[in-house]
Assembly symmetry: C2
Homo-oligomer: 312 residues x 2
């Protein structure tokens, strides 16, 4: 029986799973920390080694990796949490070592594939996935294919300008969606308002995180509710643009911030409805949260290796 390997390399953990030809239930799955004894590359190689069966039954491996990367060339341009991975030919390294086909995808695109094949986007041909956590990432399925662009740098959905001279973004530009609506931006906004003596239960926490703010909102804290609404409103504004650009039938949200549920999503829908230029864009549109949680990237890698190395 043939099997597939899927790996997800994150800033804190590396996971590798071995899967049968169908379904999302792993035959075996193991998780280690990304940083520890040996560098991240060695740790990944050792974990794959451990997961490989003693025979030649593995039809291929795909790796979901953080940071911009070129999936065709198999090269990671840079990775925020893994210092050595700069113009790093991870695919070649793994292929030379294991003599099996290796595919590479960035984490946001792999999460998109995962939710599309096995999660909230199942059955759709046109999908936008946005992940709202520390940063904002995304991916797009157009006509059953991932939009990648020339070197895999497409669908950076967090890096669209909403306010030309707005707050500084992690990428160095100003006023991007990520700088206005990510978990980091929500926490920054709350901190600023607390400094201005906005009354809030969050006063008791030194640096309230997006998670603290989400909890406070659920307890009725007005500042927390406002901060999430502000983020949702910006996301809705950006999403209106993305509907005009991609005309999808489903938008799937992932990432920690979406746990804020209606505190984020209601203002998002309102802002979207106000900004979209024709009701035609909303007519067949579903807006959902992801079904796969932290497994989206891993299962997306599985979807990738299965689609590129089919066994039939």
């Amino acid at each position: 029986m043939k099997t597939y390997l899927a790996a997800d390399v994150g800033g804190t953990h590396i996971r590798v799973g071995r899967y049968p030809v169908e379904g999302t239930e792993p035959i075996s799955l193991k998780r280690i920390t990304t940083h520890g004894e040996g560098d991240a590359t060695d740790r990944l190689i050792n974990l794959i080694e451990e997961m490989l069966p003693g025979d030649d039954s593995v039809a291929g491996l795909a790796v979901a990796a953080p940071g911009p990367l070129d999936p065709k060339a198999g090269i990671i341009f840079s990775s925020p949490n893994i210092p050595g991975w700069v113009n790093f030919p991870l695919r070649k390294i793994l292929e030379n070592r294991f003599h099996i086909p290796v595919e590479l995808g960035n984490d946001a695109n792999m999460a998109t594939l995962g939710e599309w094949q096995y999660g909230a986007g199942r059955g759709h041909h046109h999908m936008i996935f946005m992940t709202i956590s520390t940063g904002i990432g995304g991916g797009v399925i157009d006509d059953d294919r991932l939009v990648l662009g020339h070197r895999g740098l497409a669908t950076e959905l967090g890096h669209v300008t909403l306010i030309p001279e707005g707050p500084m973004c992690g990428c160095g530009q100003r006023g991007h969606l990520e700088a206005l609506a990510s978990g980091t931006a929500i926490a920054r906004y709350v901190s600023e308002q607390l400094k201005l003596n906005y009354p809030s239960s969050l006063k008791s926490i030194q640096y309230p995180s997006a998670k603290d703010i989400s909890l406070a909102a659920q307890n009725g804290d007005a500042l927390a509710i406002e901060a999430l609404a502000r983020s949702g409103s910006y996301i809705g504004q950006a999403l209106a643009n993305y509907l005009h650009i991609f005309n999808p039938t489903v938008v799937v949200f992932g990432g920690g911030v979406t746990l804020s549920g209606s505190y984020l999503l209601d203002p998002l829908r309102k802002s979207l409805a106000r900004r979209v230029m024709s009701p035609a864009y909303l007519a067949d549109l579903q807006i959902k949260t992801g079904e796969l949680g932290d497994d989206a990237g891993l299962l997306g890698a599985l979807a990738l290796v299965r689609s590129l190395h089919p066994l039939c």
Copy 2:
């Protein structure tokens, strides 16, 4: 010998050409006005009738039509200059009449296909086309395919918000690229500045058009130069977003306003370079003006019918 028919229906003219299996030289080509005796549909049908040879040598027909339309369903949602074309099943009507395969594409997407197959985008796999005239339209080739979305409403590249509470757009929303940088927007800006007594050679013209402004810029008029630079700067800002979304290797500009050349394109490039988040997006990028002019849509229709009904 098999041949193809391509039609381009515009607000002022209808053109139909008959073409061989290869090349862009028509066997015959005819142009009539869109409005005249009979309605636009009858005029189109009569012209096609006239262009059909007496045998069954025509392998298919494609029509480039104005306004949003669903290419899969073959339905025109609405057409700004042809009042009767509202949810109009043009494909079915033409198929029933001529008993040949009929394809439909909107004018901006057809111009994209035309420039990609036969013009400035030849040989590229990832291309953005933007047409800057009365309005701003566009199309995108990703991995050798036109991005269409669920009902063909994708890549409305003029309808991205640049200034949230900016000037009113033709679509009813505010602050869209089209409202800030189209030929109409350039003319409006100049008129406003003239009212404020900005000194300019354009004072002598009652309502200076984008073409008048382009000519004045070439004669050194400071207001005209500023108006074109302002437009170019906004387009560059939007284009930075589009590079982050599509990561193309070529951007092709069409439409009358691009005749302004460097008065528009130099500020555009400058603004783009300032706004793009990584030089990687510019590394392999060419920025060009279209090669096909007014033929782009017609030749795009030709490309469409050839690709969907190949003779080999």
